[in-house]
């Protein structure tokens, strides 16, 4: 059975409390569960406050693949230019020798021959003003050895923003606040990426490519079809009400972690949905996870076909109990 002792690699977590080690385990191993369906981990902490925020922080890590230099013009892109997070038209041509044309370099002030990180924006992605990396964050990443200089360190921040951790919750401001509080608490010494991600948390998906953690309401997925063209590094859902919406089918290939609010109707509603279901078996050692005393957890898989039913969801009636 998968246990906390399995978690040996990577970040030093032995100083973390047991429950946080469980969250690191979930964050790092849930992506290893291969199944023909939407993989989820349901977690039932004693209260809904702070625990989803802690998993969000534990899930932050710089993606392994580095940003590739584009082979051809990408159209509208998100980029990091002169330490500023900007959206730009990537319409220039390369010089014959492969270096970047002068007009773009004039904008970036990068050294001739290099290029800024660029990620193509989906069509219909909203237009927005430029944004800064929070004060001191690039220095902090550089000090932690992420990048030889502040510019390279900023690229790491941009990478975190390109594949953010998404928290789908009824009250994004509350969870964002909890993440910030956890980041600065003495509970655990978060690494530089996690600290950077927790320093400023977005409360709308429109801040994609700008912040490494995005808290969003399920309803905000409804008017943003472009969300499914982007890929978060992890998705955390707080409360059954948020989970039962079509928002959980925006990224069916990304494992989700569902936090139940055990002091609400969540357990009744989750049990009514879950207990009678014949969910597919999972061939994975990690899927035997049961959590720890105080925080039970369970991995389950929903067939992709279920997503089709979610189109009928009654958005008008949704959230009347908490909005």
């Amino acid at each position: 059975m998968a246990g906390l002792s399995d978690l040996k690699e990577g970040q030093e977590i032995s100083s973390a409390p047991k429950w946080l080690r469980l969250f690191f385990l979930v964050a790092r191993r849930i992506t290893t569960v291969k199944a023909d369906g939407h993989v989820s981990c349901v977690v039932a902490p004693p209260v809904i406050d702070y625990f989803p925020a802690a998993l969000a922080l534990a899930s932050v890590s710089i993606p392994g693949a580095s940003l590739e230099r584009p082979a051809e013009p990408l159209g509208r892109v998100a980029s990091l230019i002169n330490h500023t997070l900007q959206d730009r038209e990537h319409s220039f041509n390369f010089n014959e020798d492969g270096s970047v044309a002068d007009e773009f370099l004039g904008l970036t002030k990068f050294k001739r021959g290099t290029f800024p990180p660029v990620v193509r924006l989906p069509e219909d992605f909203p237009h927005r003003s430029d944004s800064s990396i929070p004060d001191g964050i690039s220095e902090r990443l550089q000090l932690a050895g992420l990048g030889a200089n502040e510019r390279e360190a900023s690229w790491h921040y941009f990478q975190l923003c390109a594949e953010p951790v998404v928290v789908i919750c009824q009250n994004p401001a509350k969870v964002a606040n909890e993440i910030s509080e956890l980041t600065s608490s003495s509970l655990y010494e978060w690494n530089a990426e996690q600290f950077s991600a927790g320093a400023e948390v977005a409360t709308t998906p429109d801040a994609w490519f700008r912040r490494p953690i995005i808290c969003m309401s399920p309803r905000s997925s409804r008017s943003r079809p472009w969300l499914s063209e982007l890929t978060p590094s992890a998705v955390i859902v707080t409360g059954y009400s948020a989970w039962e919406t079509p928002a959980r089918w925006v990224w069916p290939d990304v494992p989700h972690s569902l936090f139940l609010n055990v002091r609400s109707e969540d357990v009744l509603r989750f049990r009514m949905w879950h207990d009678g279901q014949d969910l597919p078996a999972i061939d994975s050692e990690f899927a035997k996870l049961t959590g720890i005393r105080g925080i039970p957890a369970k991995i389950f898989v929903e067939p992709f076909a279920v997503a089709a039913n979610s189109a009928d969801f009654d958005w008008e009636g949704y959230g009347a109990d908490f909005e």
Binding site: V47, R263, D275, I295, K298
Partner: protein, 534 residues
């Protein structure tokens, strides 16, 4: 919209840590009268009774309401929120219908009247349980610093009020909260629930398993280190298979046990011939405060010794257990049995020791506050009350307190309680302020808080001394206490810290109650009524 961070990070982690280490116990309390009452009520579901009249239906419905009130805590059956009086009226109406169930209504009427004259059977048990908890007060760096570490959870606000009144009347350091209040509250050290978790969520519209699922967190994610489920007839049985946020998760461990039948008393002394009742020459005419109390003659002095206990006032008897390892207090309304052994301590040493240990405890925990100031305030309240009674009389005091809205039962006893040396001050701020108003006493603003701290310090000290007493008894059991009791029927033990311990045997139980001074309740007196163990 949810309020931002209404629970702090510390509170959330504290709740988790308690869930991780919680200990759950389910105790069943016997209540034969209630069992019989429910058995009789169930007869009405038998088709042979046919249709019932409006008056009969009203009575059955009122009985259901009353039973559900009694299910919500160790509530006084005649508490104003319980509806005992109107229920008796409904029974009379139902009986007068003369229907097929008249005999059953008659029997039920008698049982309901009888229950109304007694203390809730969970009360005595719970009183011992609360006092025996190792942690009484929230830790100084937690959200409950200086506040009770124990809470009793009622389903309804009316139940909470009745439980609060009971806690205040027994001077117990515990909170009474509702289930809804618990959902938002920081963790406690000890939580007491009445009946299974599902009772707190069940309603006309929600029954098992829905209510089990909604309330399962009380046991799977408990908001305390120690959870007690106290059950009596009328509570449904806990189904542990319905616990857990999803099917298939192993249920939390629950230790089930029947009410600790009050441990068997030791009866080491054999009376060769039934002891003769000795005659005493008590004369308490000069005493102002007397109550009608149960009289017991005890062994230890040739010319006779007596002790009197009251159901509501004064110390409770400490009876020596069969294995001599500890003492216990039988329920208040239960008569002490002939031949059982009672344990007493010398009052002067006990008081002095209590004061010393409370001060030590205070100095350690409340070093920023003055212990002597708290003692001054305690004495000030007693002196002012005594002065008021001397000038205006007890009736005037009672009238004043009743007009402040305090419950009649509480008002009846409160003056004697406040004047008792062991008493600190009313636990409820409303009661405290009402008394101060009636006495025209402008208590300093910090007084209620200091008196609360003093109560805690004394309770902690009392617990410590009780534990020392038990240790002393255990070591004495090994060194000849049993022999002394079986030979003579009484024994004295000396301890430098605890003073004199006197263990004796109940030699005669009077059938009638007698008027006895409140100040001497629970203390052995000689044939002229003088305190025998100073």
């Amino acid at each position: 919209m949810q309020i931002l961070n209404e629970r702090s990070l510390g509170d959330a982690i504290d709740l988790l840590e308690r869930s991780e280490h919680s200990n759950i116990e389910s105790v069943r309390i016997d209540w034969p009268e209630l069992t019989e009452l429910i058995r009789l009520a169930n007869k009405f579901s038998n088709p042979e009774f046919g249709a019932t009249s409006v008056a009969e239906d009203r009575c059955l419905s009122a009985l259901g309401v009353w039973l559900s009130q009694l299910a919500d805590g160790p509530i006084d059956a005649i508490h104003h929120t319980a509806g005992h009086g109107p229920l008796l009226g409904f029974f009379e109406e139902a009986i007068s219908v003369g229907g097929a169930g008249a005999d059953i209504f008659q029997s039920q009427h008698e049982i309901v009247a009888s229950i109304g004259s007694k203390v809730h059977p969970a009360a005595g048990w719970l009183e011992d349980w609360i006092s025996a908890q190792p942690i009484l007060e929230g830790s100084p760096d937690g959200p409950r610093a200086g506040q009770p570490a124990t809470a009793l959870v009622s389903k309804k606000e009316s139940g909470r009020q009745a439980v609060q009144d009971w806690l205040s009347s027994e001077n117990l350091f515990a909170d009474a909260i509702t289930y809804a209040g618990l959902k938002k509250a920081p963790a406690y050290e000890n939580l007491v629930f009445f009946g299974p978790p599902s009772r707190y969520e069940s309603s006309k519209w929600s029954s098992s398993p829905d209510s089990d699922y909604r309330a399962q967190w009380l046991l799977t994610a408990p908001a305390a280190t120690r959870i007690l489920l106290l059950n009596w007839p009328f509570h449904s049985t806990l189904d542990v298979s319905l616990l857990g946020p999803w099917k298939g998760l192993s249920s939390p461990a629950v230790i089930f046990r029947q009410q600790e039948t009050h441990p068997e008393p030791a009866t080491l002394f054999v009376f060769n011939t039934p002891p003769l009742e000795k005659s005493a020459r008590f004369n308490f005419d000069y005493e102002l405060d007397v109550v009608s109390a149960a009289e017991y003659q005890i062994l230890g002095k040739e010319s006779g010794l007596w002790v009197f206990f009251d159901e509501n006032l004064g110390p409770r008897p400490r009876v020596l257990s069969r294995d001599l390892s500890h003492t216990f207090s039988p329920p208040r309304y239960k008569t002490l049995s002939y031949g059982s052994h009672l344990v007493f301590r010398s009052q002067d040493v006990e008081r002095a020791q209590l004061l010393k240990v409370s001060e030590d405890w205070w100095t350690e925990k409340y070093k920023d506050f003055s212990f002597s100031r708290a003692e001054e305030l305690r004495n000030e309240l007693k002196e002012r009350l005594q002065e008021f009674i001397d000038h205006s009389g007890v009736d005037q005091l009672r009238r004043g307190l009743l007009s402040s809205g305090l419950p009649r039962e509480y008002v009846k006893q409160i003056h004697a309680r406040v004047l008792d040396q062991g008493y600190v001050a009313p636990q409820s701020q409303d009661s405290y302020e009402a008394i101060c108003r009636v006495l025209s006493y402008r208590a300093p603003p910090e007084s209620f808080d200091l008196l609360g701290k003093l109560r805690t310090a004394r309770q902690q000290a009392g617990l410590k001394l009780m534990r020392q007493l038990l240790e002393k008894l255990q070591s004495s059991g090994a060194s000849g206490l049993g022999e002394a009791l079986s030979d003579d029927g009484y024994a004295g033990l000396h301890d430098d810290t605890l003073g004199e311990l006197f263990i004796t045997t109940v030699a005669h139980v009077s059938e009638e109650q007698k008027l006895f001074p409140i100040s001497k309740l629970g203390r052995p007196v000689d044939e002229v009524g003088a305190l025998w163990l100073k």
